[in-house]
Amino acid sequence: MTATLDTPATGAEPGPEETGRVRQPQRPVLELVPSSRREDVVATTDLTAEQIEELGRRLDAIRDRVLAERGASDAAYIRDVIRKQRALEIGGRALLFAGVLPPAWIAGTAMLSIAKILENMEIGHNVMHGQWDWMRDPKIHSSTWEWDNVSSSAEWKHSHNYMHHTYTNVVGKDRDVGYGILRLSEEQKWNPYYLGNPVYNFLLSLFFEYGVALHDLEVEKLVAGEKPWSRVWQQIKSIGRKAGRQILKDYVAFPALAGPFFLPVLAGNLTANVVRNVWSHAVIFCGHFPTGAVQFGEEQLDDESRGEWYVRQLLGSANLDGGRYFHLMTGQLSFQIEHHLFPDLPSNRYAEIAPEVRALCEEYGLEYTSGPLWKQYLQVLGTINRLALPNGKR
């Protein structure tokens, strides 16, 4: 089989399940650019256009069912998470005021870290996807939510909800591929700068929230002259305002309020922010870049049908295995595949539909990538190290 599936089933024998059906004229189904992982992919996309559209309809049916069921218990779920998150934050900060005592410092920092992770992942990310807009509660709405992060909601909704979710894993379009800093695909032309790939990744992980904020600037577009300086300046001011308030809160106001315990509080807040950054970086990178997750070329976007869009989301994402609380801490991004298929369905529903999506993938012979966090993360690190070098082959 050739690498680029530009001649899928044309002229091929109809499969047993297709006999008797009217066969539509076939057209290229998935045009996968050569990628390091393309061997994994070729076998998984041996589907006809009809099959892909049928898969799309079956996924739509899952979506419709969840939409019809959505109701009071879902609303109670998100309200409960928000309440608990805020209680954790208050508790953590209160304990940190007694942070000269090591157990209080450890417990306070842990609670604050968990609170910040929940706030960014299960609440902020999902609210800003409009997952809870159907409740019509202005307090839990994508248009009003601002998260505890240096990048502002407005900028992030553009770069994440729009750019990343529309162009998932399309190299050159999806700026989450490498965040403009790393080389994460062989499609990104190598240059000596990328020798620092592992180092950049380590720093990005520590300062992830700043990386995300700067990511929104799309500096490469500025360099290419596609974006005016005035727009970038406006964004820099917005990031500055937002970051300023965040820094003031965690590194000035709360420590100052603690008076003589300034340092323990400062250290606790700094640690919580770093823990949150490292964790979200790990979860997010494991959602799209472990072995098995596919990258695409821009040609893929031409005339992409609903079914093909679904298949791209499916193949471009990877899940993480774990228990209930693990899923909660990832903001259900451990169900990255389901999230990418249905980014606006309430996150608490992903666990329930995941088995159905997996079964569909099996039926259609599509790879459903899933694995434990440590394993996926090692794979991501492997890729990052490998791609530091010009033609880093596995």
């Binding site: 609303a75 529309t166 309020l257």
Partner: protein, 352 residues
């Protein structure tokens, strides 16, 4: 979404502003309301503290408002947001309590199949938190009071008038007043006993109750028959659209309060939408976003396929049609995705 509450007094505001440095990007109240939801200063809320059954189909609900509540004038209504199946619905209800009451009371009659009225009448637990809007409406008694009054009401239309009568009763001065009130049956008459009591206490108040199940629907002629000096009276009417239409057509100067919008023309897809202050024609099947952009408006947008919510804008009037389902939907205050909704007759949408 309702309009926000008026700002808190300045001393408290300054304290809250300082506290914001500690709670950014949230507001201090987002934490304070964990303790008591009524402590919100940016949005007005209330807690249901009592329910009283008026008839088989009607209940009076008493609500303790947050401190931002500015009170009401007799005859005004309040916006109430209630969650049903996890979704917030906003409806208007006339305040039935007298002016100056600390708590606010609305009296709701069940509309068959109605989302909010059935919830309020049947099972709204004590302690429920509801969203509130400040009282508004011009269906109020003029100052100074007219010397002779006529109220014509039917069904739940009695509620704003009840507030006026209770207010006059509190003040102890009821001018020469006739109330013609119609309900289906005696048992179905909201405030029946209280109205009789008021009439007994105030010789200047005459209450005429009619039962449509017995004597048919109220119309201008039957009111004229019951109130020979109708022509010299200031007239206030509240009830079903049919009654109000007949009264305003028959007589001049009727002040009417409607509980339902006048019948709308056919809800075909497409229409004229007021987008941020100027009219935009939306063709059938065209999205609000496409139409707005074609007309040169600056519209927020993103994926243009309904997934990123980069395009939501508040609907102020009218309804929109979801291009995906073909369904007409929307209430004033709803945030609609302009990329996947078309117009549905006339509507008004705010731009950021």
């Amino acid at each position: 979404m309702f309009r926000s509450a008026p700002p808190a007094p300045s001393g408290r505001r300054r304290l809250l502003d300082a506290a914001r440095a500690l709670t950014t990007p949230l507001l201090p109240e987002d934490f304070l309301t964990l303790v008591d939801p009524l402590w919100s200063t940016s949005s007005l809320r209330g807690r249901v503290v009592a329910r009283r059954r008026e008839t088989d189909r009607a209940v009076s609900v008493t609500i303790e408002p947050g401190r931002a509540w500015a009170g009401h004038r007799a005859g005004q209504y309040v916006g109430v947001g209630v969650d049903v199946d996890g979704v917030r619905y906003r409806r208007s209800y006339s305040l039935s309590g007298p002016e100056g009451s600390e708590h606010l009371t609305v009296t709701v009659q069940e509309v068959p199949g109605g989302v909010v009225s059935t919830r309020l009448v049947r099972d709204l637990p004590i302690g429920t938190i509801v969203e509130l809007e400040q009282a508004s409406g011009t269906f109020t008694l003029p100052e100074p009071l007219p010397s002779k009054l006529l109220f014509v009401t039917a069904g739940s239309g009695i509620t704003p008038v009840m507030s006026m009568l209770r207010t006059l009763d509190r003040r102890g001065t009821v001018p020469d007043t006739v109330l013609v009130h119609s309900a289906r049956t005696p048992e179905d008459t909201i405030f029946g006993a209280e109205l009789a009591g008021l009439a007994a206490r105030h010789p200047s108040l005459r209450v005429v109750t009619r039962h449509s199940a017995v004597t048919g629907r109220l119309d201008p002629a039957s009111v004229d028959a019951a109130v020979p000096d109708r022509a010299g009276r200031a007239i206030y009417a509240c009830g079903p659209a049919g009654l109000l239409d007949a009264l305003t057509e028959a007589w001049d100067g009727v002040v009417a309060e409607r509980f339902t919008p006048p019948a709308r023309a056919a809800e075909g897809t497409g229409g004229t939408v007021d987008l941020g202050g100027s009219a935009v024609e939306v063709a059938p099947g065209q999205s609000l976003l496409e139409a707005g952009e074609a007309a040169g408006r600056i519209m927020p947008s993103g994926c243009r396929m309904g997934i990123c919510f980069g395009c939501v804008l508040p609907l102020r009037e009218g309804r929109v049609r979801d291009l995906r389902t073909g369904e007409a939907h929307g209430e004033p205050g709803d945030l609609v995705q302009t990329c996947v909704n078309s117009a549905c007759g006339t509507a008004r949408i705010d731009l950021p």
